[in-house]
């Protein structure tokens, strides 16, 4: 079963995201700060499949630090960054460093939870594809030996 971590300093945000993703059948853990999130990421085995993190928490670049921690725990972890509407500069930076995507929290007229649900599904697909590719490569390598 897929395991997802949601990090946000707003209780109401965590609750809502967790509830929606659980509906899709995932196991969802939550953390209320960057620090708590990092702790959970480093202690998790197997690692989280997807990490959904707020961009701005203790610092304006909390999201970046979560991204780095998640990728160093498992290079195939997918990270989705939540940002304030219209403030995508940092999120784009995250993308360059390997985040799966970013989701703006308040896009007018869009059901952001359905969007998030879709992004998580896509992220998981990419992760599966990546893992499958690596497995094939390994098989190939071992087969050729």
């Amino acid at each position: 079963m897929c395991k997802i971590l949601v990090i946000d300093d707003e209780d109401a945000v965590r609750t809502a995201v967790k509830r929606r993703l659980e509906r899709d059948g995932y196991t969802v853990h939550t953390a209320e700060s960057q620090a708590e999130g990092l702790k959970l990421i480093s202690s998790q085995n197997p690692p989280y499949d997807v990490v959904v993190t707020d961009m701005v928490m203790e610092s304006p670049t909390s999201g970046l630090e979560v991204l780095q921690a998640a990728l160093s725990a498992d290079v195939f972890s997918e990270v989705i960054v939540l940002t304030a509407y219209g403030n995508v500069a940092n999120a784009v930076d995250c993308m360059k460093r390997g985040a799966f995507d970013y989701v703006e929290k308040n896009i007018p007229g869009v059901d952001v939870f359905e969007l998030l649900s879709m992004k998580v599904r896509q992220a998981l697909e990419r992760r599966r594809a990546s893992v499958a590719t690596i497995r094939k490569m390994k098989q190939y390598e071992t087969g050729s030996d």
């Binding site: 109401a12 509830r19 059901d111 359905e114």
Partner: protein, 600 residues
Amino acid sequence: MDTNRDCDRFESADQMALLARLSRLVVTNPSVDDVLQQILNDAIQACGAVRGFLAIVDHDRGELDVRYTAGDGWTEEKRIDRLKISEETGRGITSLVAATARPYRSGNVLTDQHYIRAFDDVRSEIAVPLVDAAKRTRGVMNVESTEYDAFDDKCERLLLALADLATIALTMADHRARESALVEIGKELNRFTDTDELLQRVIDVASEALRFEDCSLFLIDVVTDKLVLRASRGPLAKKIGQATYEIGEGLTGWTAKHGVPVRVSDPASDPRWKGRFEEIPASEAGAYMAVPIKIHRGVIGVIRVQRKKSPYKWLPNDFTDEDERMLSTIAAQLGIALDNRRLVDQLVKAERMAAWGEMSARSAHMIGNRVFAIKGDINELEYLLKQENVEPEKALELMESIKKGIFLLEEILNEFREFVKATQLELEDADLNELVKQAVEEGFPKRSATKLTLNLAPNLPKIKADPKKLKRCFTEIIENSINFQPEGGEITISTSRADARSKRWLRPTQQSSEYVQVRFEDTGPGIDLDKKPKIFNPFYSTRAKGMGLGLSIVKGIVEAHNGVIYENGKPGKGARFTILLPRAKESSTKKHQKIEGETN
């Protein structure tokens, strides 16, 4: 120089002694009335006259005013009669002397065409002018006798010398008045926190001390780039805030444009004259003078003064070099004071703008998260309602959560509004003690573990306050205090006049005014030293409600009242908040004064 004549002038030791004594009096006695009365008394005695008077030119009205009398037979009626005589143009010995600035002697008044009868017993008369360095007639000294040909050359020369002394006394009095007016204005510049009050006060002092009957002050409005009337004496006072000039328009606008003083004796004939908003009808307009108020970055306003046309040709009432220097000095002092004020205002505004920026960012973040959560609830509700077996309890639970989310949004909205409106006050005269009592009534829970003590000083001066907003400040502090003492504790609220110690928290420009204070002391945990500088910042609050703007709103409201709030309790021993508020000006008539904050 005719030395023989000079020797002649002091023919007796008596006269020498008299002049020496009077000169001493002029130097030592600061009362110009005493000095002039004494000179007149001595003049009569020395000339063997029966009576006399000293008429002084009133330059503002362009009239002679019989101000000092001596000798037999004077009554108030006679004095006023005499005044009327002197007012008759071209007639009367006094008017003649004033007009010609030369002495006049009549050996037999009964046959003198200039003589106007005032006392039946008069047979001869002599009158000498008081002429100052600018060759302006300042007055006339008139002495009369019941004998024919009572006054000779010697007498005339003595009277001329006495008239000079009288002129010196008058001139010195003028200088003293000017000096004290300048000192007075210098003191006033830092006294008033309200700029309009300051401007009016400067105009009043200048007008009284300098005999500028009509005096108006215009400042350039930076938005419209027009001169706007800000203070005035006389009829124009009704148009304060309304009368405006374009830069360059009329004499007033010309002064502002070119940054140099204008001084004309007949403004209506000047090509620059516009004749708008003049205090005096154009036909009566006499001497006019305007000086720019300049600071380093240029002209910021104009002070102008006007006099009515003198009814006598011989009596010019133009403004002098001295007048111009005086007004320019006042303008320069005022310019510096206004510039200081602007800098302080800018500082306060900058502080508030920073708070604004932080608040906007923060509120966007908080509103965003709230809306996000509400959308989450709605998403879930939608999902739920699409199920075959709808569970009403679950749906209601979500509805409840949505409601809560919206309440939170409204709280944020409310605080936002309060923060914005903190600097927009509806001011009225208020009693601090009364406001404290009402705030306690409204904000202190009826049943509380916290013990409340009120120490309200009686007979406090009234303050200018927005009662609703100020009470909001008090209840905020009281509520904070109660929240921080959940196990119960004590709150002491005391009011008093501000002491020197608490006045140290005021800005330098505020310190000379009288302030009252209200202090909130509790026995809670107090505020840690490292947190003290931050408690008035927006969002510092540790309370869950709204955005945590609480104390920053309080600060905004207090500062909009020209007051100050500070906290200096001992950490661990309790918090101690003190609010200082300026007392209301007694003369203040403005009921509702709107102070616009930086709302745009």
